[in-house]
Symmetry: C2
Subunit: 249 residues, 2 copies
Amino acid sequence: MLKNSEYFSRRGSIRQYKAERVSDEMIDEIIRQAAKAPTTGNMQLYSVIVTSSEEGKERIAGAHFNQPMVKGCSHLLTICADFNRFTRWCEINNADAGFDNPLSFISAMTDAVILAQQICTIAEMNGLGTCYLGTVTYNAAQIAEILELPELVVPVACVSIGIPAVEIPETERLPLEAFRYSEKYPRLSDGEITELYKAKDEYAPNKKFIEENGKQNLAQVFAEVRYPRAMNEEFSRTFMDFLKKSRFL
Amino acid sequence: MLKNSEYFSRRGSIRQYKAERVSDEMIDEIIRQAAKAPTTGNMQLYSVIVTSSEEGKERIAGAHFNQPMVKGCSHLLTICADFNRFTRWCEINNADAGFDNPLSFISAMTDAVILAQQICTIAEMNGLGTCYLGTVTYNAAQIAEILELPELVVPVACVSIGIPAVEIPETERLPLEAFRYSEKYPRLSDGEITELYKAKDEYAPNKKFIEENGKQNLAQVFAEVRYPRAMNEEFSRTFMDFLKKSRFL
């Protein structure tokens, strides 16, 4: 029996929050402790923009397609892959900083996502609710403009934090054997893939989801309604354009 | 005072492990609980390849530049951004899967890094030691070949796990105000940047590091010795080539 199982094996994202605010001091202490998470060469290639004012939330809500977590949360954290600060420190110290390339973006993005997840874990273990907003990469350029991000800074994760107004929702996950492989990647047959997704296909709320969307099965809901090709390709173009503008590409 | 502060504010990566192995069951249970971490649209766009055999570690050690954690650990976990399994499930279900694009890679990488960090947190809270190996992205193509990864699967995080043979090392971090900004990204002066990095510049082990490398300051050690431009650019090329081969680009 692992320690803290009751938390880790039962956690879930919280999308509705009480009006009561979390203190700025608590948010700061969560970020401070989270920053002890691993980071590439201890370079801390990230920054966290905290939006807690009503005006700030108002300004950024549209970039997140007005998802209710933005205005409903206490603090909205935009976590960025950031090689700007490090590069400036290098330049001030007469060091040749060569971080305007894709590999450096990947390193900084890794640091930023690790920090984001550590923030969520600490917040949740202290009774707060959190939720990632995937829209952060869809509208990275727009968010960068609103938050006045300089070059070599790319928003890669956005987390809303607040005091939960609802219980932790039930969520299903694939069985372990679907994604944990020994020694090498297996060659699965169609029948084996179908079997691994069977419980997900048959999960009652997912069946309802299929019906509501007028599709034949859950895979079609994901691929054709929620994450259709044209949308993925359009957001790919705008994200790559923004990476170029940011000088990582 | 936050819960579990004694862990979160004192954690550090462990690079040396005892010969005693962690049980496969414990590793599986850690991965199972970690999979309750947030994931894009609950798609679980990741896979974890567990290397625990001596032969497996032998085969992959070179791709990690023979860092001692590979052969010294109990279990080596290669965590991949994976749209292959999901795409196959879509195809089997006659759904048009449009995930062969950069935005889909970014989503899957986010899922994979979140999972990796959750695995590290659960492992460490249960007394195990963990360490990320950044070499995973330097040599992604070689690692993919060794682990027989199919298209739309890219290794993005690698974590060694074992029973610690050493104490948690001391590590310094930037002060909170260096990377936590309110409402928007600040325009810092050179003097302010210098001030934020001052404690790091003056940290005794870092001073020793500067001397050992024959440089004038810490920034030069990072930019010219540890992460020089030519290396970053070379690994950028190979990583982008591999993303193309994987069909994400």
